[in-house]
């Protein structure tokens, strides 16, 4: 049997809820202490009620050395918490885990950068933060600089770098890290599409080289490409721990179940704490009819988003994904067209009209992101599902399910007679 790289037994992590638990003020702590002491003196040491959230609960699993494992689940299912525990940033509340080997993480660009330090100084600092030994960095310094293609700017403070240059340098350091266990939270590693692509390539390379990889992502296609096995978390517990196809199917089914719920009751939101306005309903209509969730390819379709509150400068982003969870297209109102209409009287309702729906028959899902006051107000994965019935596009019948690709483009042929 191969060596075990990570073993987790009954891992759990709870957080105390409320602003008070996080910051609190000294005054409150002192008065609380007074109350408790008084309570003890009087003889009833009652504990104040504390609202506790279990981000992870009784999670057990094993990862062999050299395995690549995907962690999937809704927002708030506990994926990031799990990475925090495994990387030792946070301590588990219950249970234990044993991690063998040097742990490295790919982080948000520039986490370890100090703007006042030069490129050279930052390479050393960032390398140390990522867990590299000093003489290891020194040995590979030239390689890192060459990889980033940055010789000329080495002695310039990083704050004068363009963001692209910062990304390049950050990635060059990360790419020379040789961890035995690599933890990646795609949500953290983003910031820049190029960086993300490189990160994924690096991960694949690390996995091939025999390191253990734990990968958190919403992108099921990348999970399927990189991992043999996946763990599906739901509300902090392991629901499925299986070969990646099985776990992904389980996740897609869970998403579909969630879509049938009342959207306002869902807690797996992506609002970064704003949520002044939330998506209350999302539905897809065929043409001008009122029948929801079944549309015909080649005909007009309307995606209607109902929100709880109208805010200034509202924008909406819709991502359509196929049945495998791969994105097909993203529609974003921020990229505006003169044909768009902003109407003060339309009520708390956003509509996106697609004149000729170019999707081949099949089942699709929609993820939605709502912005207002320049902030992300709300976000929901799988806000709705809809089925596309076979239709005709430009007088041409659509291909059936089973062909490659998800879209049909209006087109004409010229052929020999």
């Amino acid at each position: 049997m191969a060596d075990i790289a990570i073993q987790a037994e009954g891992l759990g992590k709870s957080y105390r809820l409320g602003l008070n638990a996080a910051y609190g003020s000294l005054r409150e702590a002192v008065s609380e202490m007074g109350r408790r002491t008084a309570g003890r003196l009087v003889g009833r040491g009652e504990k104040p009620e504390i609202d506790v959230l279990w981000a992870l609960r009784d999670v057990s699993f094993e990862v062999e050395q050299g395995e690549a494992i995907g962690l999937i689940g809704h927002n708030g299912a506990g994926k990031s918490t799990m990475l925090k525990l495994l990387s030792r940033i946070a301590e588990p509340t219950t249970g234990w885990a044993e991690v063998t080997g040097r742990v490295g993480s790919l982080l948000e660009v520039g986490t370890g950068f100090h703007p006042e330090l030069t490129g050279r100084e930052n390479v050393f600092l960032n390398g140390a933060i990522l867990g590299m030994r000093r003489n290891e960095i020194r040995k590979r310094f030239d390689e890192i600089v060459e990889f980033a293609n940055m010789e000329r700017f080495l002695d310039t403070p990083v704050k004068r770098y363009s963001s692209g240059m910062q990304v390049r340098l950050a990635f060059a350091v990360a790419a020379h890290l040789e961890p035995e266990v690599l933890l990646v939270d795609e949500v953290l590693a983003v910031g820049d599409a190029a960086f993300q692509r490189k990160s994924l390539a690096k991960m694949a390379e690390v996995a091939r080289a025999g390191s253990t990889v734990i990968f958190v992502s919403h992108n099921l296609a990348t999970i399927q490409a990189l991992c043999e096995r996946a763990i599906l978390l739901e509300r902090g517990s392991v629901v499925t721990d299986a070969p990646v196809e099985e776990a992904v199917t389980g996740y897609l089914r869970a998403l579909e179940r969630a879509a049938s719920d009342d959207l306002l009751t869902r807690t797996d939101r992506d609002g970064r704490g704003w949520e002044e306005s939330k998506v209350s309903r999302l539905a897809v209509f065929d043409g001008d009819s009122d029948e929801a969730d079944v549309v015909v390819g080649g005909r007009a379709a309307r995606i209607v988003v109902e929100v709880t509150e109208v805010l200034p400068t509202m924008e909406c982003q819709l991502t359509i994904l196929n049945s495998l969870g791969q994105p097909v297209t993203t529609l974003d109102s921020e990229l505006s067209s003169p044909a768009d209409i902003r109407d003060g009287d339309s009520g708390p309702r956003i509509e996106c009209r697609i004149e000729t729906l170019p999707l081949i028959p099949g089942r699709y899902r929609i993820d939605v992101l709502l912005r207002g006051r320049q902030e992300i107000q709300d976000g929901l994965q799988a806000a709705a599902y809809f089925d596309v019935e076979p239709g005709v596009i430009d007088g041409r019948p659509m291909p059936a399910i089973g062909v490659d690709g998800d879209v049909v483009l209006p087109h004409t042929w010229q052929l020999p007679a």
Partner: protein, 292 residues
């Protein structure tokens, strides 16, 4: 679970990479995080880089650079000499008032800066703390270490000024390392302790600046400790900076009568403060990432 290193032919064994270590992650209680030498040693490279960062950025993009290390105490010295030495006529134990206050201000400024910056340090590094594991004590300790660089510069200049005044330090100057150690322990104990409290209670941000002001006046910097009557005079040394400041005057200005009682009490007080600060830090370190 055993992790036998795979048997390799001798020439392939990489001497630099030790066999993979297994780390057990579980809820801990009590102490043992800060005072864990093996763990601190394992992360020594990061500790060095953090300290180097703090030294480097301190005077980046400043016109006077490291000269600030001495400009600050000298500026205070001038103000104190005019206000307290001349106008108020405070006794300076027969020494020139400028020297009398500068010898105290040099260790004091080290302490005050390390205390102020140290108490803010964890919160200022929250991006790191919430994303990477390392022994957190390196953050406030790095600030204190960076302060030591300033301290060295200003101390050398202080000694030069003393020589210019025609005072040749006696053997008492050999006590400086002990006095510096007391100052470092005080700064690290107070800085680390308050930085940990600051993670949870941001009130610290408002307390520290004026606590530093008050601390300045309960330490014999503008006045001489001899101005106090007994037993307050000796008891005041439970403020460790009393022993440091009076010790500095004796060691640097060749005053002759060694304040052993003050230095002894202050040494003990500094050790207690250091352990209390680190112990508190140790207790709450495990929740930093959850609270910051």
């Amino acid at each position: 679970m055993s992790q036998q290193p795979a048997t390799k032919p001798i020439d392939e064994v990489d001497l630099e990479t030790p066999p993979p270590e297994t780390v057990r992650l579980q809820a801990t209680s009590g102490f043992g995080r800060v005072l864990a030498p093996r763990e601190l040693w394992r992360y020594r490279d990061l500790a060095f880089q953090i300290a180097a960062r703090d030294v480097t950025i301190r005077y980046r993009q400043t016109a006077f650079g490291a000269a600030w290390a001495i400009l600050q105490p000298v500026a205070f010295m001038i103000v104190f000499t005019v206000v307290f030495g001349r106008a108020a006529g405070i006794s300076s134990d027969g020494l020139p008032y400028a020297l009398f206050s500068l010898a105290a201000l040099v260790p004091w400024m080290f302490f005050a800066n390390a205390f102020l910056l140290g108490s803010e340090s964890l919160v200022l590094n929250q991006a790191l703390i919430s994303k990477i594991y390392f022994p957190r004590i390196f953050i406030p300790a790095g600030v204190v270490a960076a302060g030591c660089v300033d301290f060295t510069i200003s101390l050398l200049i202080l000694l030069a000024i003393v020589l210019v005044y025609g005072i040749v330090p006696s053997l008492a100057i050999l006590a400086l390392p002990l006095l510096i150690a007391i100052a470092i322990m005080t700064a690290l104990g107070a800085g680390a302790g308050l930085s940990a409290i600051n993670v949870r209670y941001r009130d610290v941000r408002y307390i520290v600046p004026f606590a530093t002001q008050i601390w300045l006046f309960v330490t014999p910097i503008v006045y001489a400790n001899s101005a106090l009557s007994q037993p307050l005079r000796t008891l005041s040394a439970i403020n460790p900076m009393v022993g440091v400041v009076e010790g500095f005057r004796w060691a640097v200005l060749d005053t002759g009568n060694a304040p052993w009682d003050l230095m002894g009490i202050s040494f003990v007080a500094a050790v207690v403060l250091l352990f209390a600060g680190l112990a508190y830090f140790d207790r709450v370190e495990r929740s930093f990432a959850d609270l910051i």
